[in-house]
């Protein structure tokens, strides 16, 4: 029995460091994460990059990325420099907004392959635009912390002025590319109205019947692809007051009934006088 216990402890002692600190020397040497050479999720297999590395005497020298697949400059650059570690960008976030944080991180030189040197400003901008504010760009590489707290991260919404809510009432803890309904069902960001509708049912129904919202497009095809968050900021839904445009110059006639009464009295008085005058003349 004692032998078995000692054996297990020894086995664990030998195995544990290897599983937790499994960055092999190749990874350290190239300062790359696992996903760079292995297929994400199944690290027993190598991707094309890893295969090249293996076949060319553990060196990337002469390796050319297959970047023909990408359409825009941003996508090509992403596939060459970022996809290895960060994985594929969620379609919903692609080419939506320029992520300023990405620009500053690349320029600071914090990214492992020093891509700051290779790219000019327009290319970095294209890359930041392609990625957009894609949650898993950072959260995919972070351990989830479900504790309720203030968030201090650049390029991240810091305050939440939407009822008594906390991020994880709507966002999913383990995969931030999804939102979570009350029943636990995960929905992608482009189906967010379903989530909004859980509290704002009446407005949600009106929106579905196309009687809520700003009208754009033509009369026959009114609200085209506009969802709640296109107009309402989900983290601070209240609209701030705006400045009114200048007051009108033109003065309109006052239609106060009192004025009419005076005019009516005057007209009656004058006509009575005229009639009296005409009557006196006939006599």
């Amino acid at each position: 029995m004692k032998k078995l216990l000692v054996f297990t402890i020894f086995t664990l002692l030998i195995l544990l460091p290897h599983t937790t600190l499994a960055t092999p020397e190749f990874g350290k040497k190239e300062s790359r994460n696992c996903d760079y050479c292995h297929i994400s999720g199944d690290y027993t297999k190598l991707n094309s990059r890893g295969e090249y590395y293996l076949k060319h005497n553990f060196s990337f020298e002469g390796y050319k990325e297959k970047i023909e697949k990408g359409e825009g400059i941003g996508e090509k650059l992403y596939m060459r420099y970022c996809q290895g570690c960060h994985g594929e960008v969620n379609d919903y976030f692609k080419n939506k907004e320029i992520n300023e944080e990405v620009i500053s991180v690349i320029k600071s030189g914090k990214m492992p392959p020093n891509i700051k040197l290779d790219l000019n400003d327009t290319e970095i901008k294209a890359l930041a635009k392609y990625v957009g504010y894609w949650c898993n760009l950072c959260h995919g590489k972070m351990l989830p912390n479900p504790e309720e707290r203030e968030i201090h991260a650049e390029g991240h919404p810091s305050s939440l002025k939407h009822g008594e809510f906390w991020c994880l009432n709507c966002h999913n803890l383990n995969d931030r590319d999804y939102l979570k309904l009350i029943n636990g069902k995960l929905i992608p960001f482009n189906q967010s109205p379903e989530l909004c509708g859980e509290c704002h049912g009446q407005v949600y129904n009106e929106w579905k019947e196309e009687i809520h919202g700003r009208w754009v497009g033509s009369i026959n095809n009114p609200i085209a692809d506009v969802i709640c968050v296109d107009c309402h900021n989900p983290h601070s839904p209240k609209f701030s007051p705006i400045e009114p445009m200048p007051t009108p110059q033109e003065k309109l006639l006052s239609f106060e009934p009192a004025n009419y009464r005076n005019i009516a009295i005057a007209v009656v008085a004058i006509s009575v006088l005229l009639m009296a005058y005409a009557g006196s003349g006939r006599r």
Binding site: H212, W215, I219, P244, M245, T247
Partner: protein, 321 residues
């Protein structure tokens, strides 16, 4: 003496001809314009001639190429408008979008006698006045038995200008042409220069308007506006997409008003005020289409019309959520 008499006659003669000498325009109207038929009686050929003449005149006056349309009303369409007064924040964006779209006089900065004309008027109303428990004040007109609440729009604030809108204790009612089903303005026009089109829009043929302003007196909604002076508009600010009955350039001495942006709506586009509204308070659509948004609003919301007791039956509805 002889000399002076001759001089006197000369002077008289010169005085008589002086309008010609100084080119003082006695009647600034071309012969074609003078002989122009009423729009409803024109044949297609005559319409085309008038459009050509107008386009030529605008080119001469402002140096711009414009396109004037005479698009007729579609069958099976009656336009209706709905405005959510609970959402309106009184920002007057609609007023200025309308001015830009419909070529109203901008008002001259140098000459204060040339005013800016606006077809939309936004009034501000105190919320407290709608509370039945408020004590009766002079501007209360509507009383329902014991309850005295409501507003008389004729004594409300048109010229409010706070730093930021919306203000806490007020709501706002934009008023423009209500496109009445029984329009009093059409009834009083002595020259039949204004009439109701088959799609429910009240239009004006500016060339037939004599400027008597009876319609302005008849309209209970301040919807009609008179060009007291030659309208002032910079050539580069002119919207060249024009309709004969809508936003074509007006002249001195004619009445004008909102036409639901006839040049846009007859092509299936929304009016300019609907497009600009930042809060989506304005809704527009076909009243005859049971599937249209406007019908759904009229069926499901609390709707009222301005001065319903006047019996004008406006096709402009106000609603609340």
């Amino acid at each position: 003496m002889k000399d002076s008499r001759r001089n006197f006659i000369k002077k008289i003669a010169m005085l008589g001809f002086s309008p010609l000498a100084f080119k003082i325009p006695v009647i600034d109207v071309s012969f074609e314009e003078l002989m122009q038929k009423h729009f409803k009686e024109m044949s297609e050929e005559e319409k085309r001639e008038v459009i050509e003449r107008l386009e030529r005149e605008y080119k001469e006056k402002y140096g711009i190429d414009v396109k004037i349309k005479t698009t007729p009303a579609k069958e099976g369409v009656v336009w209706g408008y709905a405005l959510n007064i609970q959402k309106c924040i009184g920002c007057r964006r609609c007023v200025y979008a309308c001015v830009k779209e419909n070529n109203q006089s901008r008002g001259s900065k140098n000459d204060p006698t040339i005013p800016a004309i606006q077809w939309i008027r936004v009034i501000r109303v105190e919320k407290a006045k709608l509370n039945p428990e408020t004590k009766a004040k002079a501007d209360f007109r509507v009383g329902f038995g014991e309850v005295r609440a409501g507003i008389d729009i004729e004594v409300t604030e048109h010229y409010y200008s706070p730093d930021k809108v919306p203000e806490k204790d007020y709501f706002y009612i934009p008023i423009q042409c209500q496109q009445c089903e029984r329009p009093p303005c059409v009834k009083v026009c002595p020259t039949k220069a204004t009439w109701k089109e088959p799609d429910g829009i009240i239009v004006i043929d500016y060339n037939w308007c004599i400027g008597c302003r009876y319609c302005m007196a008849a309209c209970p909604y301040w919807a009609r506006h008179f060009n007291w002076t030659e309208p002032y508009i910079e050539a580069e600010e002119i919207n060249t997409n024009m309709h004969y009955l809508g936003n074509r350039l007006r002249m001195k001495g004619v009445v004008e008003k909102c036409t639901f942006c006839i040049q846009r709506t007859r092509e299936g586009r929304f009016p300019a005020c609907v497009e600009i509204c930042p809060v989506g308070a304005r809704k527009f659509g076909n009243l005859l289409d049971p599937e249209s948004e406007i019908r759904k609003i009229l069926e499901s919301k609390r709707v009222f019309r301005l001065k319903e007791e006047a019996g004008t039956q406006p096709k402009f509805f106000y609603f609340m959520d």
